[in-house]
């Protein structure tokens, strides 16, 4: 008796599963049919509609997307780009959504993504190297940092769209107050330390103003590692985060904190506000390393701030460089209208018209000649434009996201006595290289 009932149950389960698979199959079929007819129609008729995923909805960034798409749609009567906002899942990244969409067989046609880390999901991307070569788009059109960060081991993964650079911002009023020359900001690490000390104010045993905190804002270990002359990978693309110069940079950062009291410094950083309450705007911090997007924020939140922008100091006071990040426009694998997608990507990234919309956000185009025109009459961008050709980009490796996370944690680990700079960076180097090896073995 019992056997029979369980058999009945099993049969039900099987039939349900069967039903499921039938529904799934028939769905796929009908979808496929529809698509093919759609394609046929669009070829014979006119308009192709493509979906464009981006993660900028509001503010100047949102405006730049909207206006770019509008212009493209006007100038390309046969293609309609439909921008779709996709919420980022962490920082600037929408990679997990892209990967899921590609795996599910329903990707967007074009996506705006952080350039950094795309190597890790390169199998979800349509290789566009040939398309670029066919249309005469080469690395000569772009900055080295743009093209380099968009390629993995010589293979172009996506077209670079823009760039963001970093520099030292300083409060001129505070400089005058502390007896420093506001037109002569520090250029060496030593001068920076002296200025920081003079600018720092303490009342009743409590800091009311900090001159400088190395890792505040955009003072990543990448920024300082490069300023100290270090390199994060060698010629064979092996990670060298324990480069002696990077160790020096980390040591300098943490020694700096020790001088002012680690607890005071860390509690200041952890309680610092953003936007209108940014300590640099409120006068609680006199100098900070930050990106060029801060120019428009200052205009918005602290228009009366008397400030200057200068190079990120280096130990020698020369060879200034900057950490450049930015985005690409990529084409996911399996898109239906590759030609239309490529047309849009090409227009956005490799034409003066498309790139000129970067002016709205105050960020940089990936093409040097466009920037020269865009910011010709904007002196506040001078320092950035000057160091931009010397911009450094994060190494394109298969464990870039992990490397970022690990390096971002490094100062914190050192300050909390989890190891010396050398030990921490040795550990990171070993870990990342091992991870890359594993991922490479998996690809083969």
């Amino acid at each position: 008796m019992k056997k029979r009932s369980s058999r009945l149950f099993l049969m039900m389960v099987v039939s349900v599963l069967f039903l499921f698979s039938v529904i799934a199959c028939s769905n796929k079929q009908s979808n496929g049919d529809k698509d093919s007819t759609d394609n046929g129609n669009s070829n014979s008729k006119e308009k192709v509609e493509i979906t464009f995923w981006h993660n900028w909805e509001t503010g100047p960034s949102g405006e730049s997307i909207e206006k770019s798409v509008q212009k493209f749609n006007e100038t390309h009567p046969d293609i309609v780009v439909k921008p779709v906002y996709v919420a980022p899942d962490g920082g600037d990244s929408v990679s997990s959504k892209l990967v899921t969409a590609v795996a599910g067989g329903n990707p967007p046609d074009v996506m705006l993504a952080s350039r950094y880390g795309i190597a890790e999901y390169k199998e979800a991307l349509e290789p566009i190297g040939e398309l670029a070569a066919k249309d005469g788009i080469t690395e000569d059109n772009f900055y080295k940092w743009a093209w380099g960060e968009a390629s993995y081991e010589g293979e172009l993964l996506a077209l670079p769209y823009d760039g963001t650079a970093r520099a030292l911002f300083y409060n001129k009023e505070h400089f005058r107050e502390a007896g420093l020359d506001p037109e002569n900001p520090p250029t060496t690490i030593e001068e920076l330390e002296i200025a920081a000390e003079k600018l720092t104010k303490k009342e009743n045993g409590k800091y009311t103003r900090f001159g400088f905190i190395p890792w505040f804002g955009e003072g990543w270990l990448y920024s300082w590692g490069w300023a100290f002359g270090g390199e994060f990978v060698d010629n064979d693309n092996i990670v060298t985060a324990n480069d002696p110069k990077i160790v020096d940079a980390l040591k300098w950062e943490t020694d700096f904190a020790e001088k002012f009291g680690i607890k005071d410094v860390t509690s200041f950083v952890s309680s610092a506000g953003t936007n209108a309450t940014n300590p640099f705007f409120t006068g609680q911090l006199s100098m900070m390393v930050t990106g060029n997007w801060m120019l428009s924020q200052i205009e918005e939140y602290a228009p009366d701030l008397d400030y200057g922008v200068t190079y990120i100091p280096t130990p020698s006071g020369e060879d200034f460089n900057t950490f450049v990040g930015g985005r690409v426009l990529l084409i996911p694998k399996g898109v239906k209208n590759l030609d239309a997608s490529w047309e849009f990507v090409k227009w956005m990234c490799a034409t003066e018209e498309g790139q000129s919309f970067k002016k709205i956000t105050g960020e940089f185009a990936a093409m040097p000649e466009v920037n020269e025109k865009l910011y010709a009459d904007d002196p506040s961008q001078d320092i950035f434009l000057e160091v931009l050709p010397n911009g450094k980009y994060r190494p394109v490796v298969l464990a870039g996201n992990m490397m970022w996370d690990e390096l971002a944690k490094a100062p914190d680990l050192v300050m909390n006595k989890q190891g010396t700079p050398q030990e921490i960076l040795d550990g990171i180097t070993e870990k990342i290289n091992k991870e890359i090896e594993n991922k490479k073995a998996q690809l083969e």
Partner: protein, 313 residues
């Protein structure tokens, strides 16, 4: 099931006319449950078993996965961050669960007192549970702000220099515990229901015997509340071991300061969605499942000694 067999028996006899009312009801019942059965199979059973399979491969969602046996598990046992995440999570659970029970039971007993404005007070204590976790996070980030926060300002007034709270490795986890103790509304609600479930007879008998308030609390209320405490404890342990949103929103996934807020599920998430190591993350999920199971079994075994049900003997 025995009814089901009856159905088959009836069918076997192939007497369609005798298809009883009951059989048709059975059939309708199954039909009505079918959406649920389908849902369960498609959205629970399938992902569950596929994650078990993927934990034995190096799956990254896009490229075809390769069978690597138990390599993920072996690598995990040599992964510092895995252990750190596990330790942080267990340490947090060890602090959070007992405190949550103590706080919850105390508050529930106070809110059960027939005082003026009882309903209002109950609402006030439940309200924080209605806030989205992210809002709670931001709110407490400001309250616990070492420099401008209300908590440290208050401590300073009574002569104590407040700690760095979320910026301090020793205080970061306790800070998190404090935040969660603020949103106990749901478990208080369950405790309240449990308190009202305790038969008045016991209290009347105790009154006649001349027991005081303290004796009644420790000899009647708490013992008879143990089934509810037990339920909340199990749920609390499971929640604490899966804690994700709060530390993730607080630290943007970094686990700062010095990885002291790197929780197990945060590291799992990073592996799955940031480092594209879905197989590795699946293995982590199964280990977490085993840990939760083990702890639950231990608690369940121990419950015989300290959980009392009304009207048992």
């Amino acid at each position: 099931m025995s009814n089901l067999t009856e159905v088959t028996n009836v069918k076997a006899k192939a007497s369609k006319k005798t298809t009883s009312m009951e059989t048709r009801i059975r059939r309708a019942g199954i039909l009505f449950a079918l959406p649920w059965i389908i849902g369960l199979l498609a959205f629970y059973a399938y992902p569950l078993f596929s994650s078990m399979y993927y934990s034995l491969t190096n799956y990254n969602v896009i490229s075809p996965s390769q069978w690597i046996g138990f390599e993920n598990y072996i690598t995990l046992f040599n992964d510092d961050l895995f252990w750190k995440g596990l330790k942080n999570t267990l340490a947090y659970a060890l602090m959070q669960v007992p405190l949550a029970i103590m706080f919850g039971v105390t508050l529930a007993m106070l809110l059960n007192l027939p005082v003026f404005g009882q309903g209002f007070l109950r609402t006030v204590f439940f309200l924080p549970s209605l806030l989205p976790v992210i809002a709670t996070t931001i709110l407490w980030q400001w309250l616990l702000n070492p420099q401008f926060g209300l908590v440290n300002a208050f401590l300073e007034k009574i002569g104590i220099t407040g700690p760095g709270w979320l910026g301090d490795t020793t205080w970061s986890k306790p800070s998190l515990v404090i935040m969660t103790l603020w949103v106990l509304g749901n478990s208080i609600l369950i405790y309240l229901a449990g308190l009202q479930d305790i038969s008045k007879d016991y209290y009347e008998a105790a009154d006649i015997d001349g027991a005081n308030w303290l004796q009644k609390t420790f000899h009647i209320t708490i013992p008879l509340l143990t089934p509810v405490i037990f339920f909340n404890m199990i749920m609390g342990v499971i929640h604490a071991l899966q804690e994700f949103t709060l530390p993730y929103a607080l630290t943007y996934g970094t686990g700062n300061p010095a990885e002291s807020l790197l929780f197990y599920s945060m590291y799992l998430y990073n592996n799955a969605f940031l480092y594209m190591k879905m197989g590795y993350a699946s293995a982590m999920a199964w280990i977490l499942f085993v840990v939760v199971m083990l702890i639950t079994v231990v608690l369940l075994k121990s419950s015989g000694k300290w959980v009392f049900y009304q009207g048992d003997d």
